[in-house]
């Protein structure tokens, strides 16, 4: 007997896909924003900081509603995407967009502190050795931030995996397309006799969350000091 019913497996697979795509697509802009916040002083920085954190503070339903307004079939961006046959409304890509928006601040926050923890004196030393800004970033700042980056990815993945409010508001619940695991769980609870399915999905959600948190903790632990070779 399979551990999960077929529609539960579909929801789990969809959630994993949505979370993975959401995190992968948020990563490059998150790196750029985190680096700007960690390394540059510029006009409007506090405003940018607040805007970037907004999805963490706003009720997820509000974020979903705003996404619907902009990316829905009648929204300004949605109309452009429709014309390009790249519509995201009521599609799994929309679910990934919602999950990405919600996970983005977590990535920025973890990456920013990871970048800030890199001693700028090392970046200066790299510059005196002929490295331009890109090379300094790729050879010094980024490799030294890898534990923070990986931990941020794990947390962001867990957040994207668990996304509910913004997703259901923006892309509704279409089986196999936008009905992610948390939405499937919610619907099972609303269905008579759905408790056992809900319980199974609960255990799956706990498992994924635990794995992500353990991964983050494991990646963030201090590297073991190697023995001094006499």
């Amino acid at each position: 007997m399979a551990l999960l019913a077929q529609d539960e497996t579909v929801a789990l697979a969809l959630s994993l896909k949505v979370a993975a795509v959401a995190v992968a697509c948020s990563l490059p802009p998150a790196i750029a924003c985190a680096w700007l916040l960690a390394r540059k002083r510029f006009f409007g920085k506090p405003l940018l900081e607040t805007l970037l954190l907004l999805p963490l503070i706003l009720p997820p339903v509000v974020t979903g509603y705003l996404l619907l307004g902009w990316f829905g079939h009648r929204g300004p961006i949605g109309r452009v995407l429709d014309a390009l046959h790249m519509s995201v409304a009521f599609r799994w890509t929309g679910a990934a967009l919602a999950a990405g928006v919600m996970a983005f601040p977590l990535l920025v926050v973890s990456l920013r502190s990871a970048f800030e923890a890199v001693d700028r004196k090392l970046e200066q030393a790299a510059a005196t050795l002929g490295a331009g800004a890109w090379r300094v970033f790729l050879r010094i700042t980024l490799p030294m931030s890898l534990p923070g980056l990986a931990a941020g990815l794990a947390l962001a993945f867990a957040r994207a995996f668990g996304e509910f409010g913004a997703t259901i508001t923006f892309v509704s619940s279409i089986p196999g397309e936008t009905r992610t695991l948390p939405i499937a769980l919610y619907e099972l609870l609303e269905t008579p006799g759905g408790e056992s399915g809900a319980l199974r999905l609960t255990w799956v959600a706990i498992g994924v969350a635990l794995c992500a948190t353990l991964a983050a903790t494991w990646l963030l632990r201090r590297p073991r000091k190697t023995e001094f070779e006499a």
């Binding site: 200066q124 510059a127 005196t128 050795l129 490295a131 331009g132 190697t226």
Partner: protein, 230 residues
Amino acid sequence: MIELDFELRRGEFSLQLALHSQARALALFGPSGCGKTSTLHAVAGLLQPGRGRVTLDERVLFDARRGENIPVARRRLGVVFQEARLFPHLSVRDNLRFGMPRDSRSQRFDDAVQLLGLHALLRRKPEQLSGGQARRVAIGRALLRDPLALLLDEPLSNLHHEARAEVLEHLRGLKRELAMTTLLVSHQPDEVLALADAVALLDDGRLQAVLPVAEFGRQHPDTRAVTGSR
């Protein structure tokens, strides 16, 4: 030839220098906080003077009036900082190779490794090095950048007696063999006597005098006996 004529302000501290020296190796000597390291950082391009000119061997590195400011990465100076500033995530070998121009021959690498006695350390990580070893790697890394001049910021500070003697010996060897324009920051008379041809005395951000090293030695007779130099 070293020509420094600039003004630099950092908070309350103001550094004003008009210094022209024909010496191959010039030491900046003075008490802590007199502006030695700030001067070296201005030459390296890590601090930008408010006005003036910085010229090394007739190469203009900075000229406020003409709006010239060669970026740190393109000044081609071998900078050895007070702390070794080795990249902790790279092996000694990769630290040494970091600034090497792409087209440079492996012979240069081998020569520097030989000259500084680094062969046994190449596979170690910086955390596995003693203070003196780390300093030698930092010197090697600066040399392999194929610099036009060397900037040494207290290269013997915070080393215990034996490590100090060891690094000093290597630096003396380099001075003999490379005959490269060198700016040395120091507050140790023996270091200055061993490594410099002329000494610029700084106090509170102002140049007091420029002396030939023999004259400086007469003013610090006790240190001549210690180093036995000249």
